[in-house]
Symmetry: C2
Subunit: 221 residues, 2 copies
């Protein structure tokens, strides 16, 4: 649902935040690298203020660490951080899908099924970009069905780190299949099954993070 309408006047701080976030998530700024307000401001032709806002935001999203009166740095995740994150995410995601199972209506299921089918089709034609988008929509719709705004807030905070850590989950078909299983349990309002399925679903994503960790491309001991 994003990007339906063109932003008439995007706030600079939002633009800077997006640029910096993408730089980090896409690996153009490596963990440990400095984020110097003046330099970034000069690079992007803005004043320091939007840059400060952006850095604050990224700190709250957990991908940047900032100590008072020194430069901020791109966060270096430890094995422990990833483990901690996974534990919390498991609880939150379970909550989302269980609530969604309890509260969904016909229309919601239709939307969810639509997202799943688009994901599957994209996966079968190996259009990884479209598959990723559809998968994200699947989660988005699930949050919607869970009918709990705070859950949405929480997920928003998690999303950046999620993108960073689990960047590209390559096994598209396996992922789509997991979503099929979740969808089926959701339709049947089978919360018990969900409580078993979600942790398994997440575990497969964990593998990607572990791989990234092995590469050393962004995670420190």
């Amino acid at each position: 649902m994003a990007g339906a309408m063109a932003a008439s006047t995007e706030l600079e701080s939002v633009r800077v935040t997006r640029i910096l976030r993408d730089d980090i998530v896409l690996g153009r700024r490596l963990p440990g690298s400095r984020l110097v307000e003046r330099d970034i401001a000069a690079e992007l032709n803005v004043s320091r203020l939007p840059v400060r806002e952006a850095i604050r935001t990224l700190v709250s999203e957990g991908v940047v660490v900032a100590r008072p009166r020194t430069w901020a740095v791109v966060r270096e995740f430890t094995h422990r951080d990833i483990q901690d994150f996974a534990e919390v995410r498991e609880a939150i995601e379970t909550l989302i899908f269980v609530f969604a199972a309890e509260r969904h209506d016909e229309h919601g299921i239709a939307r969810l099924r639509g997202a799943y089918e688009r994901e599957l089709a994209a996966a079968q034609t190996e259009d990884s970009e479209a598959a990723r988008v559809a998968a994200a929509e699947f989660h988005e719709i699930a949050v919607d069905l869970a009918a709990n705004e705070m859950l949405g807030e929480l997920i928003a905070v998690f999303l950046t780190r999620l993108r960073w850590l689990f960047g590209q989950h390559d096994d598209l078909l396996a992922m789509a299949d997991e979503h099929r299983v979740i969808l089926e349990a959701l339709v049947e309002r089978d919360t018990e099954a969900l409580r078993k399925i979600i942790p398994e679903h997440l575990a497969s994503g964990q593998a990607a993070a572990a791989r990234r960790l092995a590469d050393g491309s962004g995670v420190m001991a």
Copy 2:
């Protein structure tokens, strides 16, 4: 300057944030009331910058809402918001105490017991301030024992709204007793009991929020 003796070198933005947060939590600024940067800056004898920082922070803590290019306002919580919050909190708190139960050591239990005993003593002498502090410590130590940093991050974000919504839980002795029950289950590593106890524990706090809601002293339909 209005410089009350700053601790060592407290950042202005931190000071302003604390003042504004207390104003909101303690009801000196009512839900819906405007937060005008330059007015607040003048009141506190600072420039607009620290005020902006503070408002952003309070937005991220969920007690202020800000739309672009207009004043921010103190958030008005709906019944739905409170319900949503309670649902998520239940999941997070359960996670904390279950992890704490699985991972605690002797020393941790001693600390936890210390906090409980201080809470009980304060409750018996009706020192509500000391009881509140000890109860907060009890939770803090539990997060510590859970050995998951992200859980700590999450709780930090929740804490302000928690203070706002459940301001003063008056039944001190009942609360201390609930902590005793939790502590016992924690010592025995009885996670099943905890999963039953925590929701009950939280439900009693809910009553306070409901009361506040009935008063109309900060919650709108």
